[in-house]
Every structure is written in C-alpha cells, then in structure tokens.
C-alpha cells in the first residue's frame, strides 16, 4: 500500500469512467454513420436517445474531478490527470453531440439519398473513427508517439472534407432537385471534420498529461 492508495484508486476510477464515456461516444458515432449509409432510421433513434447516458456520465466525471481537486489538493502529474480528464470529457461530450447531429441528418434523408454524393463519406468516416479510437488508445497507454501520429490523419481528413465539399456543391448544381437531401451531407461532412478536430484536442491533452508540455497539433 502506498501513502495515497485511496487517491490512486479514485484517479483510476476517473480514468475508467472516461474510457466508458469514450466507448459510448464511439458507439454513437458508429450507429449514426451506419444509419446514414444504410438508410436505417432505427440506429439513428438509438443514438439520439443514447445521448442522455453520455451527458450523465459527463456530469459524474465533472463531479469526481471537482471533488478530487477540493479534497486532495492534487499536484504535478495528479493535477494533470484531473485537468486532462476534464478536457477529454468535454471533447468527448461534443463528439457525442456531433454523433447526434449526424443521426438527425440521417433521419432527415432516410431513403431519399442518391448514392453518388455519398461516395466519399465512408472513407472520411473511417478515418475519423480511427482517430477517435487511436486518441483513446494513446490515453490508455500514455503513448505520446501514438498521439502525435494520430494527429497527422487530421490533415487527411481536412483535405477530404474540402474535396467532399467541392463534390457536393458540383452535384447540387447538376442535380438541383437533390439539394434538400445533399445539403445534409454537407453538414455531416462538417460534423466529421469537427470530430476529427476534437480527437486532435484529445491527442494534445495526452501529450500534456504525459510530458507536462503543451503542443498545438491542429
């Protein structure tokens, strides 16, 4: 037993809750994209109703962090664990909201979406999901290298977003009757791009957690 076993256990509980929140967010994102691409509204509804669980977990984590700061006077790495915990939790919560945004878009276009403009979305979605997963892997293993590498994917996502944007505009010009649908895809591309930025924030948080140094990777 170390002199701070109880505190260590509480810090570990905090980490477990953040990972639990991350897995809920990853699942929401998966379901929202699945709903969009398959045209199945059931998954989209599950994302929208499931967001409360993510928000509740956010409140729990926030309360845990406040309690630990007030009662344990954390210093050095302990302080960084708690501060990055709060920041990662906020980024995850926003990702969850974007998953809901994607799910709502999916419900709006359900069954009416032409296949052609959807072509680039799955690739972009895969990259973004991979970034979220790798960001959390870096957090689990305190892996600075992985956090840095993951951020390089963000450039790819940004490029893909710009291409998708151009493609969708061209498509709408050629098929004005589809504008009502395709405009939702524009928004989905934007949400995905935002989620990738949030994942990059998490990578920066991991680097700060491990090294104490701030780096801007976005």
């Amino acid at each position: 037993m170390t002199s701070r076993s109880t505190f260590d256990r509480e810090l570990n509980d905090l980490k477990q809750d953040i990972l639990r929140m991350a897995s809920l967010v990853e699942r929401s994102l998966f379901l929202a994209l699945d709903s969009l691409l398959s045209g199945d509204p059931v998954a989209a509804r599950e994302v929208i109703t499931g967001d409360d669980a993510i928000d509740n977990l956010q409140d729990d984590i926030e309360n845990q962090c406040i309690k630990l700061i007030a009662t344990q006077q954390p210093m050095a790495r302990d302080l960084r664990v708690i501060i990055t915990g709060i920041k990662i939790m906020i980024n995850l919560e926003r990702m969850g909201d974007h998953a809901v945004d994607i799910a709502r878009s999916a419900m709006c276009v359900c069954g009416q979406m032409p296949q052609k403009p959807l072509e680039k979305i799955p690739h972009m979605a895969r990259l973004v999901q991979q970034m979220v997963k790798e960001g959390m892997d870096a957090y689990v293993h305190n892996d600075v290298e992985k956090a840095r590498q993951m951020c390089m994917t963000d450039d790819e996502v940004d490029e893909l977003y710009n291409l998708t944007f151009q493609d969708l505009i061209s498509y709408m010009e050629e098929h004005p009757q589809s504008i009502g649908c395709v405009v939702y895809l524009l928004m989905v591309a934007r949400y995905l791009e935002r989620i990738a930025d949030r994942a990059t924030n998490i990578a920066e948080d991991v680097i700060y957690l491990v090294t104490g140094e701030r780096q801007c990777l976005n």
């Binding site: 002199s3 701070r4 505190f7 006077q73 210093m75 050095a76 790495r77 140094e213």
Partner: protein
C-alpha cells in the same frame, strides 16, 4: 509591475557537517531579491539547516563545519571581516513558534531599535507604528500597545514577531515554518502579509505545508537527504517537476 531579477544570495558548492555527519551536500543556488523562495522536503532533509546557514545561526551549534561560499550582495558571509550581529540584523529570522518577549507589545517592537542605540521617544513611536502596520497588526493592537504581548492570540503573536524583526529594518527575512503552530485563518493572514512584504524584502521560507509553498512562493527548492534535488519557478515545480523524486514527494507518494 517590473520584475526584479537581481541576486540577493549566491550559494556555491555549500557543504555542511555536524561532526562526521554531512547534512548538506554541494548546494548551489541563487536567491533572488524581493522574491519569496520556499524550501520544502521531508524532516531531516537539510532545509532548516540550510536556512540557518544564511544568517549563520549554525555558528551557535557545536561541531558544525561548513565549506563553500555564501555571498550576500557579493560579500562572503563567512569572510573574516563580517560582523555576525550586523549580518543577523540584515538577515532576520522568524521561528516556528511565536516567541514574543514577556513585555508589552510596544517594548517588543522597540526592543531591537533600542539595543541598536535608538533612544528618541518620538522616533521609537514612529518605528513601532510603522513596523506594526507593515506586519498587518496595528489595527488590532493600537489600543493595547502597553499591555503584555503574551495576551495576544498565536497568530497575532507571530505577526508581532515579524513586526519586531521589521523594526530593525532587515533586508532578508528567513522564516522557519512560521505558520505551523497557527490556525488556518491566521495562516492565511501571514501568507497575505508575506506577499506585501516581498515588495521590500527578500523572503526565504521553510515549510512542511506544500500548498503553502505553492500559494506564496516565486521559487521553490526541494531538499532530500542533504541534496538539493530540484530548484525552479514554483509554478513549474508543482505542475511538471523534472525529477521523479520531486514528483513523488509533492504528490505524496514518497518512500
């Protein structure tokens, strides 16, 4: 506000032995003028011994041997022409437990100026008031200046000891756990006072209370087993210490 980055003390390669036991090993550090420098570390690490080097209080202990240099404004405090009484006037000390003399509040503060030859009544009145005001105690004692200092609360007594020190116009104030015998409110008052005092004095404080070091100091040194493990800006030391031993100590995972 302009940041003052001049040295007050420069310590170079300081070693201190109590007979055969080495209590400080090769300590080198610079203590900046008009800053608060905190010394932290577990019991027996050498931080109080180091503090007592700075005004040669260890001279009073038998069997102490010191090598290395300690410069105060570029003058070696162990030099042959140094007057130790004058050194301790320039570098005063406040101790763990408040130790007012068993005399009136006024006489406590006037004690130092009197033994240094000040006899003028109105001059003494001025010094006493100014010192008590600087120690944030005047408002609480101005109507009982001629009553015994022993009737004051612990926190007031400690501020009285600070006023007594300020009355001889020191340049440096050394504090050896000045709040460890005080309640939390008195502690915060002393900490506020330290922030005011640093505009005019250089302050070095030994504390067991890491939160106190974090709250009040500009720089912090971590001592362990006679070594100075790490010394740097307080903010850096408490958020991202460089040495694992510092990290273990300040996060309470020591030993």
């Amino acid at each position: 506000m302009e940041v003052n980055v001049e040295n007050k003390f420069v310590v170079q390669n300081l070693n201190l032995f109590y007979k055969d036991v080495q209590a400080l090993r090769s300590i080198s550090m610079e203590i900046m003028k008009q800053q608060i420098t905190a010394l932290i570390g577990p019991s027996g690490c050498g931080k109080t011994t180091f503090l007592r080097v700075l005004n040669r209080m260890n001279d009073l202990i038998e069997g102490v041997r010191i090598d290395g240099t300690v410069l105060l404004d570029d003058q070696d405090i162990f030099g042959p022409d140094v007057d130790v009484v004058n050194l301790r006037k320039r570098v005063g000390m406040v101790f763990q437990r408040p130790n007012p003399f068993p005399m009136s509040v006024y006489d406590n503060v006037a004690y130092g100026p009197r033994i240094h030859g000040q006899k003028n009544k109105s001059q003494l009145d001025q010094i006493v008031e100014k010192s008590l005001r600087s120690a944030a105690l005047w408002d609480e004692v101005s109507n009982r200046l001629f009553k015994s200092a022993l009737g004051l609360s612990g926190g007031q007594q400690q501020r009285l000891c600070i006023a007594r020190l300020l009355a001889v116009e020191p340049e440096v104030v050394l504090m050896d756990e000045p709040t460890s015998a005080l309640d939390p409110l008195s502690t915060l008052k002393i900490e506020e006072l330290l922030r005011d005092l640093k505009n005019h004095y250089t302050i070095v404080i030994v504390t067991h209370n890491m939160q106190q070091a974090a709250r009040v100091s500009d720089s912090t040194a971590f001592f362990l087993n006679g070594d100075m493990v790490e010394f740097g800006p307080t903010e850096t030391l408490f958020t991202r210490p460089k040495d694992q031993r510092t990290e273990d100590y300040i996060t309470g995972r020591f030993g």
